[in-house]
């Protein structure tokens, strides 16, 4: 197994959150299928998508939970925050109200995820610059103040969509390397790929070779 969809070393769990209609499902679709869904229906509860990416030579499978933005699904969607390694928090640059709600989304995220969860702020619909309601500078300042990563992206043109997902993964991977994220912790949102039976992924301890027994 050197290539193909089953060759990866880690699984990262992501969630995408934000107000209704900011383009969460479209971002997911653009990322997983490289296509823009023009008439995307409202998400009922949650949606799900996966893609395998490469960070620092390591193949990583992203399991992405796309949550419904509608208030009535909040109880259901809240339960998916748990154990997320990355949270993509999305607003719509053409609608200030979606930006104004970010602080409540952020509170939820901080309360329901663990401290090592990487939060990435995405200002979606950057292709609609003419109808802009929130400036880049303002959002950038909000991100900096709260220690979030930030880009403006467009699910329609695909601009910066890859970057947002990949940068989040890089940051998570970095946390693993630094030892800030404990893979064995129950809710880290990161897992090793299961070892295939008869062919364990983790190499047998090298010490054994030196041992005379």
């Amino acid at each position: 197994m050197t290539s193909g969809p089953y060759n990866y070393s880690y699984i990262f769990k992501y969630i995408i959150i934000g107000d209704m209609g900011v383009g969460k499902s479209c971002l997911l679709h653009q990322f997983t299928d490289k296509k823009f869904m023009a008439d995307c229906p409202h998400t009922i509860g949650v949606e799900f998508g996966t893609r395998i990416i490469e960070v620092a030579g390591q193949k990583i499978k992203l399991q992405i939970w796309d949550t419904a933005g509608q208030e009535r699904f909040r109880a259901v969607t809240r339960s998916y925050y748990r154990g997320a390694a990355g949270a993509l928090m999305v607003y719509d640059i053409t609608r200030r109200s979606t930006y104004n709600h970010l602080s409540s989304w952020l509170t939820d995220t901080r309360n329901l995820t663990n401290p090592s969860t990487v939060i990435f702020l995405i200002g979606n619909k950057s292709d609609l610059d003419g109808q802009r309601d929130v400036t880049y500078e303002e959002a950038k300042q909000f991100a900096d103040e709260n220690g979030l990563m930030f880009v403006e992206a467009s699910a329609k043109t695909g601009q910066n969509v890859e970057e947002a997902f990949l940068e989040t993964a890089k940051k998570i991977y970095q946390s693993i390397q630094d030892g800030r994220l404990d893979l064995n912790a129950a809710e880290s949102g990161v897992q090793h790929k299961p070892a295939s039976p008869g062919r364990p992924l983790a190499a047998p301890p090298a010490a054994r070779d030196n041992c005379a027994c």
């Binding site: 969809p5 949650v46 799900f48 748990r82 809710e187």
Partner: protein
Amino acid sequence: MSSFVNHREDSTVTVEETSTKDNVTYYKITVKVGSVRWTVLHRYNDFVELHEKLVSDHGVAKELLPPKKVIRNKTPKFVEQRREALSEYLKNVFNYLKLTMPSEFAHFLDFHLYDIFFLLQDLAKTLFLEGDKLLECEKSHNFTPLELHAISERLKIACPMTEKQDQMYDFSHILDFCSQLRALNIEGSYEKLGTSNIVPNDLRFDLIPFKSLLDLKILGVPMACIQSVGGLRDTLVSLSVSTASVVSLNEFLLVDILHKDPSSIADTVKWKKLSVINFASNNIDNVDWAIKLVPRLQHLSLSSNKLKELCDISCLHDLRVLNLSMNSFSVCENWHAKIGNIVRIDLSQNRVESLQGFSRLYSLESLDLSCNVITDVEEVQHICKLPCLEYLWLTANPVASSIDYRVKVLEQFNARMTELCLDNEKASEKELDTARVLQALRVVKEGKTPSFLQNNNTSHSFNKS
């Protein structure tokens, strides 16, 4: 199927009966969760084993379990006493562990067989460990209606607190697997599941998690169970729905559309890639307009249904193979106006009398009419001009038992008689010789060459009179 996290307060565990097998006493535990119930058999030793784990890992009081007794532990009086004590024990432990519901306890009570969350935890683990291997090696994967129902319901409800902390049991792994699966089999059942009162075919499910499904086989599941086909309209290539008591194709093709009215159907409900449909062994009596929703259809099988007539399906430009065996066709009129560029037709085991309706299916290469009621060998006149016809089955028709049946049929194909494979067999040299003689006789008799240019009304009326 039970949903314990939603019915915690509406659940009970009791020991109501005992039974003896091979000199071992079993206690029959009845679990009720809402309206769902099932029973589990355990001997006393199983209780002891469970109790040890619960005491060490979950803080259950050690003295709670009724004590062991080595001698005279088989007397009816003692067994009855122990039954009561065990019932009381389970009631107490259940009340105590209701909120956390540790896995050992859930398994002891068979929650992993009948309850949405515990079943999915086990499934998640399996798919986490084996999923990639299954996707790589398996030709198709079977999901039970029970599993599909659990997945659909699970998506609607918030994560319960009882969920195991280990990420191996995370629901993501199931959706991950489903979203990559290419071939899915679902087999239904009207039989109650295990010891429970759950009937699999009463459970509703949707197919939304299956995002890259190409091949779907449904066996014995009523269409009413399927609430949504999700994205299947964009991905599915091959569909099989058999023994599902389906009366019309739109039962599946429009399964999630409330108003099955041709005028209000939008292009979005078309099955964009579907090219093979098999609805064998159902109750279909008419190929309805819904077939137009499958514009790329190449292969349609409606074997073992109740069809009498074929409606106009000429809109299916790609249709090549049509299997209508084991139906009730008797008259087949002007099929060239109903089906276009067809290559293979299987009409075996019907009641077809005449071949007239096939006379202009010029692209036809294979026609199976075995086990029908064709009596007159001259019927072959209708199809002997079909330029591509190479395979013809007339076996087990009355005509096939007439004298010199094979040569009489072959002879009518004139120069093409050497190419024809009749009833799985090409003409032997001897048959060809006889056929040529017959042909010569016909020429003499009719004073014309060759017979296929001739109107054969005369021979017809002669035979009928």
